[in-house]
């Protein structure tokens, strides 16, 4: 390795972040938020664990039809049975089992889509920040076009053309979601370019690729991790919405979104079919957001996201 300190953390102006709060107050606040982050992480671990272990945990098969017990309410309500703790749907499938399986689909799609979008966004952001005005203008125009456009409509239109499938969902959500990364990474790269260690790297005659990936990228890891975490929540909501409309995960595969969509038809008499999958989406995204916020505070409290 060269004598250049690649691991250096970029300094931001702390004054801009928080008006007049005292140091003690801020660190108390940091700890307080971190506490919630840990609670959130524990809950997330539970959600992921249940999703992964679903085949061994579920009381019923998620696609097993039982017409005799259709539309059974949750166990604690009148007419509910302890056999189906959260009740059953219109064709008698066990809601709890379907929810456990549903988590798998949502999480896999979300994480895969975020990996795709983070890769595209980070590469384009690095290029825009590093390679001067022309490249920057082209990429940022693309970013503006994408950001102007309601993401939901774009995803819907593309899925309608490609047809809904697991891979297509990942591609669409991944390709549509990169501009945020690109914008943040570009700004960070531009700031890093002016730093002394960059001048040193150039003076040593390093190649562009080496400067970008060895000198700049390591400094941006924490920003990328924080955005990616928060984006997982966003993508889960979007995937659910697509599935809710019937344009995402296709039945009989259970996903929280399409369960919610099914339940909508029966909400007059059987509210639980729509209520529980929606609550699962809400709790999962809330948990991820809390984790993301805590991660940001922990890695870099002055990060502006």
């Amino acid at each position: 390795m060269s004598a250049v300190n690649a691991g250096e953390v970029p300094l931001r102006s702390p004054a801009a972040a928080d008006g007049l709060s005292t140091g003690a107050h801020r660190s108390w606040r940091r700890l307080w938020r971190l506490k919630w982050g840990l609670v959130a992480a524990a809950i997330m671990l539970l959600i992921v664990g249940v999703s992964v272990a679903a085949p061994w945990l579920v009381p019923y098969s998620p696609v097993e039809v039982d017409i005799r017990h259709r539309l059974a309410p949750p166990a604690w309500m009148e007419g509910g049975t302890p056999d189906h703790v959260l009740g059953t749907d219109a064709i008698g499938r066990d809601l709890l089992s379907r929810m456990m399986y549903g988590g798998r689909v949502s999480l896999v799609i979300a994480v895969a889509a975020v990996l795709v979008s983070a890769s595209i966004g980070v590469l384009l952001g690095l290029a825009a920040g590093y390679f001067g005005p022309k490249v920057d203008w082209t990429i940022m125009t693309l970013v503006n076009v994408m950001l102007t456009f309601p993401f939901v409509l774009l995803a819907l239109a593309v899925i309608a053309v490609l047809g809904p499938s697991l891979t297509n969902m990942i591609i669409v959500l991944g390709v549509a979601d990169w501009p945020l990364y690109a914008r943040v990474i570009r700004a960070e790269t531009m700031a890093l370019r002016e730093r002394d260690f960059m001048t040193a790297a150039r003076a040593l005659g390093m190649s562009h690729a080496r400067i970008i990936f060895r000198q700049i990228l390591p400094n941006l890891v924490s920003v990328i991790v924080v955005i990616a975490t928060l984006q997982v929540a966003r993508v889960i909501i979007l995937e659910s919405f697509l599935s809710f409309l019937g344009l995402g995960v296709q039945p009989p595969t259970p996903a929280w979104g399409n369960m919610l969509g099914d339940g909508r038809v029966y909400m007059l008499n059987s509210w639980w079919i729509a209520a529980f999958p929606g609550a699962a989406i809400f709790i999962t995204t809330l948990t991820i957001n809390l984790m993301g916020n805590a991660l940001r505070d922990w890695l870099d409290p002055h990060m502006k996201l």
Binding site: G19, V145, F149, L268, G278, N289
Partner: protein
């Protein structure tokens, strides 16, 4: 100011061209209109005939040019489904969408402004924590679920409000609240940080020292200046707001552009999809431009720096 406006206009034009390319590309590059139009058992000859009929045997840039030059005149072709011009179909559905977004925006402000100011003034107290936590929870809320829960509670159980439809003010309440809940969290956070920053400014201290009442300080001095970042971000969030309207409309069967588009997507009615996409994007771009101009007028630093 002139130069600033000109620069923004150029960028606006580029973005519009980009969006038209996107709308065109979705159908013509990713998909194949002929396969979508013809029945699945159609032969190769028929395919070729249709391909020629629709002008799809020409180079892609010629096709795009045709699409764009017609689109400028408001001609997006006939709907494949309803046999009426796509443009008039979309235009017809525009007012309900605009009403809904306006009502949603108003609702978001109604929630976010008082809570944001309150959280800022009672900073680091229980009230602030409560407001912030509400915002965090609100941001994680899938609004299509929120909408359905509202329907279950207020329409099905309590029978207070109509579950869906359009017409009276009662029809507006739940959709507007749902859409408002989508935009309120980020707005609240902005108002809070804006007010906090400004309450520490020298001119606030001056006003207080002069003996101006605390209420007047907050409303006249702090809030006014906190409005600038709020206006900017709300303007930029307009696209998000329309995205939220798409979700809200589908949940409440609101007869706006979004339900039309979703139906068109389901029926693979691409002229309508393209037309809706381009028109919605035009509105978003226009709003963004207006916001840039307003902010540039209010705050001269922006038009020089930006």
């Amino acid at each position: 100011m002139k130069r600033y406006a000109l620069r923004q206009l150029v960028q606006l034009a580029v973005v519009i061209v980009g969006i038209s390319m996107l709308a065109f590309g979705i159908l013509h590059v990713i998909g194949d209109p002929v396969t979508l139009l013809l029945p699945q058992n159609a032969g190769k000859e028929e395919y070729a005939r249709y391909n020629k009929l629709l002008g799809l045997d020409q180079p892609i840039y010629v096709q795009y040019w045709k699409f764009a030059s017609r689109a400028v005149q408001g001609d997006f072709g006939k709907s494949w489904y309803a046999d009426t011009p796509a443009f008039s179909l979309v235009l017809q559905r525009m007012p309900p969408t605009l009403y809904l977004t306006t009502a949603g925006l108003a609702m978001a402000l109604l929630i976010a402004l008082p809570l944001g100011i309150l959280a800022a003034l009672k900073r680091h107290t229980f009230v602030d924590t409560l407001c912030t936590m509400t915002a965090v929870a609100g941001q994680a809320m899938p609004i299509f679920w929120l909408g359905i829960m509202l329907i279950i509670i207020f329409a099905v159980q309590l029978r207070l409000l109509p579950a869906s439809g359009y017409g009276t003010w009662q029809h507006f309440l739940m959709p507007a609240f749902t859409l408002g809940a989508f935009l309120a969290p980020i707005t609240m956070r902005l108002v809070r940080s804006g007010v906090i920053e400004i309450m520490n400014m020298d001119y606030i201290k001056t006003a207080r020292a002069k003996g101006v009442g605390e209420g007047v300080v907050v409303v006249k001095h702090a809030f006014r200046n906190a409005c600038i970042p709020v206006i900017t971000v709300l303007g930029l969030q307009f696209g998000q707001l329309l995205g939220g309207a798409v979700v809200t409309e589908t949940v409440f069967a609101w007869p706006g552009v979004a339900t039309l588009t979703v139906d068109a997507i389901r029926n693979q009615d691409f002229p309508v999809v393209q037309c809706a996409v381009v028109l919605l994007a035009l509105i978003i771009v226009a709003v963004n431009f207006l916001v840039d101009m307003i902010v540039g007028l209010i705050d001269p630093r922006i038009r020089v720096g930006g």
